[in-house]
Symmetry: C2
Subunit: 402 residues, 2 copies
C-alpha cells in the first residue's frame, strides 16, 4: 500500500467521457489498496472562456478579482470528477485549494505556495476517501483566494506529494512521457524511461511543455519521485528523479521555445556599471532574462542584447524607452525568433556536443543569432520560421535512425 | 449616511451589459455617502447549465459535491460585478460565502444560515470598500461549502442586513414591486406601496415569486426593512415592514401556485391515530404538507387527501405504497392542479371575503376541489388549466376597474 498523488490537466477532464476515463484510472489505483490524492485543473477551455468574460467588462481587472473568477474553473472540475467516482461506487471527497490547506503568498495571479496545512488531507485519507483537490489555487494571509499562475496544478500536485511524503507523484498528460523531442513534430523520437530533475528542469524551462518548471524545482528540493505518463494508453511513463547512474545516452532531448523575444540596446554608453543598472532595473520589475550577449565596446558605446519571454517584451522595452540611463541608445525588439536547445547531464563529459549541434544547423543553412550554454544544455537563438527544421536536424544528428 | 444591502438576481447579471447597469445602481448608492453591501446570484442560466453537466456524469450525485459545483456560479458573478465596479473607479472587494462569514448547518443543498461572523464584512466596510457577496452559499461545521437552495440569495441578503442592522435591504427584481396579482398575466393590477411581513409571507409561500419566503421570515424576525424594486426603472418599490396602520384596502393580492400535487389516500382504515401516523411519517421525511382534507368515515374507512409541492410528490407516494399502515387503501397522485389564493391582513375584519372569492369562481364555471383558510388568506385548489382564468376573475372581483 502506498500514497499516490495523481495530477490530470484540463484536456484530461474536458468532457463527461474523459472525466469517466480519469475516474477509471483513479479507482484502479485505489482498488489496488493505495491511498490516492488527485489534483485537477479546470476543464479544457474554461480558463480562456472566463478571461474572455472578464475582458468584456473590464480590460484591466484587478488580479485579486481575476483570481476569484479563475479559481471557479477548478471548483467545477473537482466536483464533476468526484461525482464520476461516486458513480463508480467509491468513497470520495473534493476539496478546494483553501480546504486542502494551500497557504500562498499574496501575489495574486502568480502566487507561490508557502505551506500546506495537511490536517484535512490526512483526515480524509484516514477515512479512506479518494481526495480530489483543486489545483492552481490557494489562500493568502488576507484570507483571499489566490492562483498560482498557468501550469500551477503541477506545482499543487508535487507540493502535496512533498508535504505528505507520497510514494509517487504521477503527472498524466496526452503523451506517454518525456521524449527526446516533441513526438507530434519530430520523427524517430524515443521515450525516456528515466531523467534527472536537473535535465527535466532544463527541458521544462526550454519549452518542452510536459511539466511546469516550478513543479520540478519543488520535486527536486523535496526529492519527490515524479512520473510523467499518458492518461490514454496506461503504460509506464518517464520517471523523474535524482541521478543514480549515468546512462549511455548523454543527450536527453531537443526542444524549441518560441515564447521568446530579443531586446537589443544599441550604442549604449560604455560606462562602468551600465550592465548592472540595466539588469537590476529588469529584476526590480520581476522580468526574467535568459540569454545575454554584450558586444565589445567601440567609440565609447557597446551593444547589449538579451532575451525575455514574449509577454514581458513590452514591459522590458518600456523600462528603457526615453530613459536617461541609455543616453539615446537605440532599442530594438524582435519576436520572430526561437530558442532551440539540446539537454543532457552527460553532456559535460562529452566534448563536441556543441560542434555536433552547430554542424547540424549549418548543414541545413540555419543562421545562429545567439548562443547560451550551461553544464547540461546548449541553446541557440534562430529565426522562428526555421525552428521546426532546426529541431529535426539537431535531433537527427544526436539520435540517428537505427 | 446609511448602510444599505442590495440584492440582484441572476437575470440582473446575465450579461456584460446588465452587469454594468447593476454596477451603476450600486455606485449611485455609494456616491450618496452610503455603505453598500451587495449580494448576487449566479448569472442567468449558469445553475441550470451546471446541473446539466453533472447529470451527464452522474444522475444522482451527492448533495455535497453538487454544492461544490453550484457555488461556483456565484463565484463567477461576484468577480465579474467587482470588475465592473473597478472599471467605474470605485473601491470594491468580492467575498465568497465563507469569506463573508456565512455559517450554516450541514444540510447540503438546502442549508439554513446559523450565524454570520461579521468581522470581515465590518472590516471591508470600514475600509470604505463596496462589498460584493456571493449569495446562496455558506460553510458548515465540517468546513464544507453548502448552498441554501434555490432563492437562497434573498435569504443571504436579509441575513446580512439583520446581522449588521442595515438601514434597508433592497431586493432588485424585474418588476417594480409587489402587485395585487402577477402584472405579466393579469390586467389592471396595482403596485402596493407597503405590505406587512405576514402578508408578504403568505404571498411568497403561495407562489408570487417576488421574494423567497425564508427571507421574509428572517426579515420579520429581525425587523429588517425590506424594499422590493426594479433594477431597470429606478423608481421606489414596495416596502415590506411591520404593520403600522391598517389601510383601507383589505386584500393585498391574488396569487397562483402550480407547483403543487395532491395525494389522495382512499379507503384508509378508520382507526384511532391513523392521521397522526400518516403525517408524522411525512414530517420525518421533511415533506411539508399544505392543505389537508379528511372525509367523514364510512364502512370503517375514510379518505384523506393532502397537498405537497410537486418535487415531493413521488417521495410522498413511495412512503405509503404497499405500506401496512394503510391496509390496502388506494393511493392517487394528481399534479394537474393549481392553488389560487387571496391574501390580506384586513381580511379577518371583513366578512364575506370567502363568499366574494367563491362567487367569482362560480361565475366563470370553475370547480373548487379543496379549500384552506388562515387569518390572512383563503386558498382554493382548482384544475391547473383554469388557474389563470381564476386569478383574473378573483382579481376583478376584489379590484374592480376604476
Amino acid at each position: 500500500m502506498a500514497l499516490i498523488v495523481q495530477k490530470f490537466g484540463g484536456s484530461s477532464v474536458a468532457d463527461a467521457e474523459r472525466i469517466m476515463n480519469v475516474a477509471d484510472i483513479i479507482t484502479d489505483t485505489y482498488k489496488k489498496g493505495n491511498d490516492v490524492i488527485v489534483v485537477v485543473s479546470a476543464q479544457g477551455d474554461t480558463t480562456d472562456d472566463l478571461i474572455k468574460k472578464a475582458k468584456e467588462i473590464n480590460q484591466d481587472p484587478s488580479k485579486r478579482e481575476m483570481d476569484v473568477l479563475l479559481s471557479s474553473g477548478e471548483q467545477i472540475s473537482i466536483a464533476l470528477l468526484a461525482m464520476a467516482i461516486e458513480k463508480l461506487g467509491y468513497p470520495v471527497v473534493s476539496l478546494l485549494g483553501w480546504q486542502a490547506g494551500f497557504n500562498t503568498n499574496s501575489t495574486y495571479g502568480a502566487a507561490r505556495i508557502k505551506k500546506i496545512k495537511t490536517d484535512r488531507l490526512i483526515n480524509e485519507i484516514g477515512r479512506k476517501n479518494i481526495v480530489i483537490v483543486a489545483g492552481f489555487q490557494g489562500l493568502c494571509k488576507y484570507d483571499d483566494v489566490t492562483t498560482l499562475g498557468r501550469g500551477g496544478s503541477d506545482s499543487s500536485a508535487v507540493a502535496i506529494a512533498a508535504a505528505l511524503h507520497a510514494d509517487r507523484c504521477q503527472i498524466f498528460t496526452d503523451v506517454e512521457g518525456v521524449y527526446t523531442a516533441d513526438p507530434r513534430k519530430v520523427k524517430n523520437v524515443s521515450r525516456l524511461d528515466e531523467i534527472t530533475y536537473d535535465e527535466m528542469l532544463e527541458l521544462a524551462t526550454l519549452g518542452a511543455q510536459v511539466l511546469n518548471n516550478r513543479s520540478v524545482e519543488i520535486a527536486k528540493k523535496y526529492n519527490v519521485k515524479l512520473e510523467v505518463l499518458s492518461s490514454i494508453t496506461r503504460v509506464p511513463g518517464t520517471i523523474v528523479r535524482e541521478a543514480v547512474k549515468m546512462e549511455k545516452m548523454f543527450i536527453r532531448g531537443v526542444t524549441k521555445d518560441t515564447n521568446v523575444a530579443r531586446i537589443s540596446l544599441i550604442e549604449v554608453p560604455d560606462v562602468p556599471g551600465i550592465a548592472f543598472k540595466i539588469f537590476s532595473r529588469l529584476a526590480a520589475k520581476k522580468i526574467n532574462v535568459d540569454i545575454i550577449l554584450q558586444s565589445v565596446g567601440r567609440d565609447n558605446t557597446k551593444d547589449i542584447a538579451f532575451t525575455v519571454s514574449k509577454d514581458n517584451a513590452a514591459d522590458a522595452v518600456a523600462l528603457f524607452e526615453g530613459s536617461d540611463l541609455l543616453k539615446g541608445a537605440k532599442i530594438k525588439c524582435d519576436t520572430d525568433i526561437a530558442k532551440v536547445s539540446v539537454v543532457g547531464a552527460g553532456m559535460e563529459s562529452h566534448p563536441g556536443t556543441a560542434a555536433t549541434m552547430f554542424e547540424a544547423l549549418f548543414n541545413v543553412d540555419i543562421n545562429i543569432q545567439m548562443i547560451s550554454t550551461s553544464e547540461i544544455k546548449i541553446s541557440v537563438l534562430i529565426d522562428k520560421d526555421e525552428a521546426d527544421k532546426a529541431v529535426a536536424a539537431v535531433h537527427a544528428a544526436f539520435f540517428p535512425e537505427e
